[in-house]
Symmetry: C2
Subunit: 312 residues, 2 copies
């Protein structure tokens, strides 16, 4: 049996790490020689989770080829989000909850995708289908991943399957008050004060072409939006520098209070009317707007902005 | 709930039809408004199956857009094998047992693939996981699909999961002697006498670039290889015309006896040495070789021929 590496996307979040550990364990029960690894160091939120459940962070790898040519992907499929030598590898399994894009294979494989809020929710289903008991600490990791991806079930990406999986996992992990645990975990990932302005605006940034504009959208999780407002001048200055050097027409930073599910949006660049039209909200004198109830870039920011920029 | 069409690939075989009917029924239990359709008329083997279990052939469609923009794919994912307006549709579900190639979506979806011998085997698993009883006639269709795709479990593509699914489906379908049924079904699909030479050499032909040669490989299922030998001159003449007009370097016809799992290979074009090297077998004076035990183009013909042509 060839050894197989199991990993999530670059810049791993809690789901990428939890899903890799959980799938590696499940497939080991089926006789595969698996090892969960990571395509980068774990973030502070994930470190909190690993410490809580007494699990070691997966080894960080940059390429698979020195060790193996067979891999399993979790929480991603797009090659540019994957390991550096993905083009030279055989992917035998994928478990994911994103769109499929640019993913091609030469041979048939196991591919399992569902449009749930979290990849770990799918893996929880797979344990149940295969009748494999979830070890307590792996249940804890997957529970944390669901809390992280759905912001404690408040994101509009949340499905009933995520809700049921979270309940079941919290029982196995013996964390009856998962809401209390979840707030502590989310807070651990939101230490804004410890980060530079550049770290804040690049940490979770993605690029999009909307209409004919190049748009960059970053998201920062916080427990108090005042942590952002007090550094607004510094953050906007960093956004302007970044927008100019990378030729973004618009640079948006969505700062989200993970406790209240409200966001503020900071806007640099043009056309600003597209942003105000998208959210039917005016910008204040600092080019900031409040967006109560907005937490999902994928579901609540990109679609209205796409429409506004296409009609601009 | 938007209506969704469910269909297999163009030139549908028994698995494409059976899997579409079976998935449409399963997803209907989940509340989807599904209809199984087909991207072409059923072949004689599938007609035998439908008649045996008293099921109407699915309606043939050429495009989805007049009716709906949401579809589910079975037994394929590559756009060129799919419905004509696939680029304008949203694919919500895929169940397949092939490689993934050229398949891209804008949104997350349900995707279920496994490297089994038959797509209906995966759908049989899904019924079991979801606790849905398989209706007798749908079990009969899926049983037939497994027999068809694996040539009664003799193809090297066959897995233990296919074997178990076939047993379970035969019980539900109340066909205890599935081998006897299977031979009758396979025979129904092999009426060589009723076809012209051009129909025989194009019916199941696929093109490959191997080494730097353009290679065309057709497969004909028969119950008696004498049906082919008696028409050899006519078939070779048709192969030569086709090879010249389409610029194939090599044209191979693999005639497979579905009862004995032996094949004969007819070779037109060059380099013939690559073919003899690939199979360690000489050609007779009619450019024919016997290949005992060879039934799978994908697993037993393309790989050795690729190696031989790359080293030619």
């Amino acid at each position: 049996m060839t050894k197989e590496l199991v990993f999530g996307h670059q810049n791993p979040d809690t789901d990428a790490i939890a899903a890799a550990i959980a799938l590696a364990y499940l497939e080991k029960q089926d006789g595969y020689d698996t090892e969960a690894v990571a395509l980068g160091n774990v973030n502070p939120e994930t470190q909190f989770v690993l410490d809580y459940f007494g699990v070691k962070a997966p080894r960080v790898v940059n390429a698979a080829r020195p060790e193996t040519d067979q891999v399993m992907l979790v929480d991603h499929n797009e090659p540019q989000q994957s390991i550096s030598d993905i083009a030279d590898l055989t992917v035998t399994h994928v478990v994911d909850h994103h769109r499929i894009s640019g993913f091609n294979t030469e041979k048939p494989l196991y591919y399992r995708a569902a449009p749930y809020g979290c990849c770990s929710t799918i893996i929880t289903q797979m344990y149940s289908e295969e009748g494999v008991d979830i070890p307590k600490e792996i249940a804890g990791l997957m529970m944390s991943a669901i809390i992280s991806d759905t912001l404690l079930l408040k994101s509009p990406t949340t499905t009933d399957v995520d809700r049921e999986a979270l309940q079941a996992l919290a029982e196995i992990a013996e964390v009856p008050d998962y809401a209390d645990y979840g707030v502590k975990m989310l807070k651990a990932g939101t230490n804004v004060d410890a980060k530079t302005a550049v770290e804040l605006i690049t940490g979770d940034a993605k690029s999009f072409t909307l209409g004919n504009k190049q748009v960059r959208i970053d998201q920062i999780n916080v427990v108090d939006l005042a942590d952002i407002t007090k550094r607004l001048a510094e953050i906007k200055a960093a956004m302007k520098v970044e927008a100019q050097s990378a030729n973004y027409d618009l640079f948006l930073v969505l700062a989200t209070n993970v406790l209240t599910s409200n966001s503020m949006l900071i806007v640099v660049g043009d056309p600003k009317t597209a942003v105000t039209n998208a959210f039917h909200t005016e910008l204040d004198e600092n080019d900031v707007m409040n967006l109560p109830g907005v937490v999902s870039r994928k579901k609540q920011v990109v679609p209205p902005l796409t429409e506004a920029l296409e009609n601009n």
